[in-house]
């Protein structure tokens, strides 16, 4: 029997220079917030720097640690008795890699995986070079705290992904993410980017009547290739409830955000505004097209 409420913790961190220091700082943060916490969400590719700032064959070596990462975060989930959403660079075969979220149960077992479906590619974010598009579809992952709609970063801009997770019974949307500013942009542009990022994810909660949380990377990481300066990851990890109401938000420093999630709230929100009832599924076939 699941509890009516559960506690979600988001761990927003800066890159500290090595995989070992990242795993250690993450382990400590999880342990420090484990009391009373049921579910922990980590940021995208949290064991390394955001290496997609340049196209460099050497970075594929990070994916060789996938099995070890799974083993170590399995142990961390078990030690702290939390459901844990991690984000890793997966080597699936020679020349075939994914940006993969792994969900661990409180006993350390793997509850399920999600391979990032929408892959970006723009200056400083060369993900199409590293990651094959996911082929596991939009499938919620069943855990002891409920069915988790795990999506990753660029997926957050797609209402289709959120909707499909909701239609498949996801009870919450969770986004490990790594997004930030370029220093050359104006403050106005930075504000617009941040606000649009919050607004669209908040809207996924509203459209689907389920809570949404995004855990973002924070701090500056230089572009090792020297082509661009680097990225100021903007943090601002947040949680919105099933009606799109704010449940907490971090700033641009490392930190832990905890929020209580009510399981019955989706039921009451969807009764009041039953959007799923009125979808015009007879008129949506154009959504399967690139352009019309």
């Amino acid at each position: 029997m699941m509890n009516e409420t559960f506690c979600l913790a988001l761990i927003q961190q800066s890159y500290t220079g090595s995989r070992e220091t990242m795993i250690e700082s993450t382990r400590k943060a999880i342990a420090s917030s484990a009391a009373g916490t049921d579910l922990v969400l980590l940021q995208e590719l949290h064991t390394t720097e955001y290496f997609c700032q340049s196209e460099n064959e050497a970075f594929f070596d990070y994916a060789l640690y996938f099995e070890d990462n799974v083993r170590r975060f399995s142990a961390i989930a078990k030690e702290n008795a939390v459901v844990l959403v991690g984000s890793f660079f997966e080597r699936r075969a020679a020349g075939l890699y994914h940006n993969t979220a792994v969900v661990f149960e409180k006993d350390g077992s793997v509850a399920g995986m999600y391979r990032k479906m929408h892959i970006p590619d723009d200056p400083g974010f060369y993900e199409k070079y590293y990651f094959a598009p996911g082929d596991l579809g939009f499938e919620p992952i069943a855990t002891s705290v409920g069915k988790l709609g795990v999506l990753v970063c660029w997926d957050q801009w797609y209402p289709e992904a959120a909707r499909l997770m909701a239609l498949k019974g996801a009870e919450i949307l969770l986004y490990p993410t790594a997004i930030g500013w370029f220093r050359g942009d104006s403050e106005d542009e930075k504000t617009r980017q941040l606000e649009s990022w919050v607004a669209i994810q908040r809207a996924h909660a509203v459209a689907n009547g389920i809570p949404v949380a995004a855990c973002n990377r924070v701090g500056f990481e230089a572009d090792g290739s020297g082509v661009l300066d680097g990225i100021d990851f903007w943090g601002n990890s947040f949680v919105f409830g099933a009606q799109g109401e704010p449940l907490g938000r971090l700033g641009t420093q490392s930190g832990i955000l905890r929020a209580q999630i009510s399981r019955s709230r989706s039921e009451s929100v969807r009764r009041a505004w039953p959007f799923l009832r009125d979808r015009r599924i007879d008129a949506y076939n154009g959504l399967m097209q690139r352009f019309l």
Copy 2:
């Protein structure tokens, strides 16, 4: 050749007691803002009260004025040389009615119609009684200021509708709407409702890289049936730009909101964050289902 920018005006009004007074006040408001204005958006069912607060056969009489409404707002569009988006109760045949937006060209000709596709039904909003679901699909309407993605009220909660309009080339999303609060609800609940309404429509701009405007009814209208008290229509008509940036918002009083819309902004916004490029059309077929 279309101009790079155009001026949009939203006219937010209270119900003044009769169709004649509503047409007259709307005519005056349009005339007062016509100088420099290219496009005018009116609120949902602006010639009458929001009659859907109760199920009453007598209200179908309002739909008998559909042709007259079209004639008179055609004349208003022509007099003021504006593209005009009106919202009317349409009698199509005996026992077959629609909630229909009509777009008038600057010369008074009818540029196109949209019949509300998503029909709500909840206490105080008994629209399924009055309106058959639209059967014209999600088709932008070509005008001298661009292709208009006209949708109506409840449609605003559906990312699918916004997306389909964008995929069909809509350059802006326009929502005549009538939404408000019940006085029995707490201030916190009212805030959550209003914010969720703004957030989801702002997100349609973000997801699709096109501006969005909603023109809402304002003021209290009693429930003539006496079952409920009535509705405090919350106004707050707004415009967001193609990146989801705020371009203006009204409060809870009657008023006119004007905003300059840049046509080239969608081009630059979509180049920076090209969401349409990466849609997983191979994996969206579940969107055609009620539930999965």
